[in-house]
């Protein structure tokens, strides 16, 4: 292959120096350029690893390199007639060229599919419009907590201040030390996606946030769930009220069994005694019959009163319409439920109701439930105090202050009082100072919820050092449309609404 065949190619140019050197220089430059082009291609591939079609670029490189070598061979054959070698090189180049051609043909559809920059722009616009039109807020945050992207909804959470390019913590300072900080740090550092719900105090709104790790840092999707939370809370309260009623009924059932069984025992004993005497055939003295019957009648009356008091309590009352009721009747009805218990445990129940009070617009059963709850709490406080002094006062009078006339119901007890630590928690659901199992922790918080429903308040104060629960209620309920009553107290821009 390396053997010389015929004459060197220079003979064809008659060894004319001008023509000879024209070919030498041109072929050398072509070969040099062809040698450099693959390196340039390789450089591009290395820098942009995301560009597909590496295969065809490499094939193209090989093809150009082969072409270059044939030009070099052309220079050599001017002086040395190694035409077999140069022919073989050309054949090799031909094969690579044909192969490159076929690779190119095969890849053409894929190359044509590759999006153009116009396509990319369109895609970007579409994505943007999706992110902008969603009712969720979207934020992209880099590893330094700088906001890289905020959609319209996200931007509106911080009206008047630019979010982009600023730290998340700078834009929303209250997030510091909150669940949000903890959860977002988890997503950022440990690269987990997390979901959490949080109350944001400055707006008094609830948000549900999904955080996902992304290439830049993390992306947050969040939505305003305040309305949902409110509904949930309302349902929870209704459920608690129902449970409290059932629990209170269960609690009372034990006491009632005792209360009803005692009269029954007396009645049965009196009757069976009479029967025993009669069975013996001895005439029963009328005195004995009279005193036994009196005892039976008196005891029956007691049992009936106990049961009558229960009737009011057995209804729920939360769906009752607001109606004007007599304060005296509410007080009497409620006191009847507990008076026996107070008597047998030697707790003095002092009830004072101001005479000639106006009617109270309320849900009677619910107000009765609050008073019952307060009286029972007061009873427990007195009974467990171990003090000599054992009394509970129920005082009902017209409220002295306020812009419209109101009713003030106070329950004061001689118990040990509420300690400072318990005081702050007392109205929270499920907080009870009674031993586990004996109390109804939901009582006070629900009583307060009912009071609020009636546009009133329930507060803990003290009178001469004694614990006093004060329920303040307006005599008439303010006229409020239902729509206004259910809307949130402070409106948050756009968040809970449909995108406009």
């Amino acid at each position: 292959m390396f053997s010389n065949v015929g004459m060197p190619h220079g003979y064809c140019f008659f060894w004319q120096p001008g023509l000879l050197w024209l070919h030498v220089v041109s072929d050398s430059l072509i070969a040099f350029a062809y040698l450099l082009i693959p390196f340039a291609l390789l450089r591009i591939i290395r820098r942009r690893s995301d560009i597909p079609f590496n295969g065809v670029v490499l094939a193209f490189g090989a093809f150009i390199l082969a072409c270059g070598s044939t030009h070099l061979m052309d220079v050599y054959t001017l002086w040395h007639p190694v035409y077999w070698l140069s022919g073989t090189l050309k054949a090799f180049t031909a094969v690579i060229s044909i192969a490159t051609f076929f690779i190119l043909i095969r890849l053409t559809p894929a190359i044509l599919k590759f999006p153009s920059s116009a396509d990319m722009r369109q895609l970007n616009d579409r994505l943007n419009s999706v992110l902008e039109s969603t009712s969720d807020g979207v934020l992209t945050i880099d590893f330094n907590w700088q906001v890289l992207y905020a959609n319209r909804v996200a931007q509106e959470t911080n009206p008047g201040k630019e979010l982009l390019g600023r730290s998340l913590w700078e834009s929303f300072p209250p997030l510091h030390g909150s669940t949000a900080e903890e959860q977002l740090t988890i997503a950022m550092v440990r690269r987990f996606s997390t979901t959490y719900e949080e109350h944001y105090p400055p707006y008094d709104q609830w948000f549900r946030v999904h955080a996902f790790p992304s290439t830049d840092g993390i992306t947050l999707f969040f939505s305003n769930i305040t309305a949902e939370k409110k509904l949930q809370l309302q349902l929870q309260q209704e459920k608690e009220l129902k449970e409290q009623r059932i629990e209170a009924l269960g609690h009372m059932a034990g006491g009632l069994a005792h209360e009803i069984n005692n009269p029954l025992s007396i009645i049965q004993a009196r009757a069976s005694d009479l029967k025993e005497i009669a069975d013996e055939g001895v005439p029963v003295p009328s005195m004995a019959v009279q005193s036994a019957c009196e005892s039976i009648l008196r005891t029956c009356g007691r049992a009936v009163r106990i049961l009558r008091g229960l009737q009011g309590f057995a209804r729920e009352g939360s769906k009752d319409p607001m109606q004007t009721a007599s304060v005296q009747a509410i007080a009497d009805q409620t006191v009847e439920l507990v008076v026996r218990r107070f008597q047998t445990h030697k707790v003095d129940l002092q009830v004072t109701v101001q005479p000639a009070l106006p009617g109270l617009e309320c849900r009677e059963v619910q107000i009765s439930q609050i008073i019952l709850n307060l009286l029972n709490n007061a009873f427990d406080a007195v009974d467990s105090s171990g003090k000599q002094e054992r009394w509970v006062r129920l005082q009902i009078a017209q409220a002295a202050s306020g812009d419209s006339p109101g009713l003030c119901i106070e329950v004061i007890d001689s118990g040990l009082g509420v300690d400072e630590k318990s005081k702050s928690h007392l109205m929270e659901p499920f907080f009870t100072t009674k031993p586990v199992g004996s109390g109804l922790g939901v009582g006070l918080s629900l009583s307060r919820a009912i009071a609020r429903d009636h546009h009133g308040t329930l507060e803990l104060t003290s009178v001469d050092g004694h614990t006093c629960f004060r329920l303040l209620l307006p005599f008439t309920q303010p006229q409020v449309s239902t729509a206004a009553a259910t809307s949130p107290p402070r409106k948050f821009p756009h968040m809970a609404q449909e995108p406009s």
């Binding site: 034990g254 005792h258 005692n262 025992s265 007396i266 004993a269 005694d273 030697k346």
Partner: protein, 237 residues
């Protein structure tokens, strides 16, 4: 002891019921004291001989259960205690282990009260004489090394009115015939009774004697005289 010779303390916060019970008992010839609650009863017991207490459970100031617990703490032994209650909110295991012999539910009939009382006051050797009218619903058959051994390893313990036994799978309030072989003593304790409580956690039952075979009765009476247990039905653990 006969009912007519006994001094009975009636404890109830319902004055009229106290009065009725006292009248019933007085008619049977016994001496009756009354108290309005546990605390008053405790004062009476500490100053006077009392053979039996008939007490309500729910009472102000000190309830019946607390009264019984206090008696136990103060090592005041009252031969017989009967609970009378309108509501069964009570742990029978604790009740019988604190020496309470019977729980009567209100309303109570006179002969029921007197029957329970005379049972409580009776000499142990006069008890458990007649077999049950119907055949027991279940049976227990087991063998133990000895009574001392069983008491030491909590498999069986004897009280004034029954025994506690390590025995799984029994139903409460069910009548049983039992045969417990004590190898060392070479005796088979045979009789009939009621299961008063079951404790699935420890696998024990509390059994109240209703009838005992003559030889078993003799063994039980002798053992009780020797050990003099506080509990009516003890807890094994």
């Amino acid at each position: 002891m006969n009912v007519s010779e006994a001094i009975i303390l009636v404890v109830d916060d319902e004055p009229e019921l106290c009065e009725i019970f006292a009248a019933w008992l007085a008619r049977s010839g016994c001496q009756v004291l009354t108290a309005a609650n546990g605390a008053e009863a405790l004062v009476t017991i500490q100053s006077t001989r009392v053979d039996a207490i008939i007490t309500d459970i729910r009472m102000p100031i000190m309830d019946g259960v607390t009264l019984v617990r206090r008696l136990h703490e103060l090592h005041l032994r009252i031969p017989s205690i009967i609970f009378v209650s309108g509501f069964g909110d009570i742990d029978v295991r604790e009740m019988t282990s604190l020496g309470v012999e019977a729980l009567l539910t209100k309303p109570v009939v006179r002969h029921q009260l007197l029957a329970a009382l005379s049972n409580c006051l009776a000499r142990r050797s006069d008890l458990w004489l007649t077999p049950m009218q119907n055949d027991p619903e279940d049976s227990i058959d087991m063998a133990l090394a000895s009574l001392a051994d069983a008491q030491a390893n909590s498999t069986m313990n004897l009280g004034r009115g029954g025994l506690c036994l390590a025995c799984e799978g029994m139903l409460p309030e069910c009548s049983v015939a039992f045969a417990i072989h004590l190898r060392k003593e070479d005796i088979v304790l045979k009789g009939q009774g009621y299961i008063r409580w079951t404790d699935p956690e420890t696998g024990h039952i509390g059994l109240e004697f209703k009838f005992l075979d003559p030889s078993t009765r003799q063994f039980v009476v002798e053992t009780l005289a020797e050990q003099d247990p506080y509990s009516y039905i003890p807890r094994c653990c």
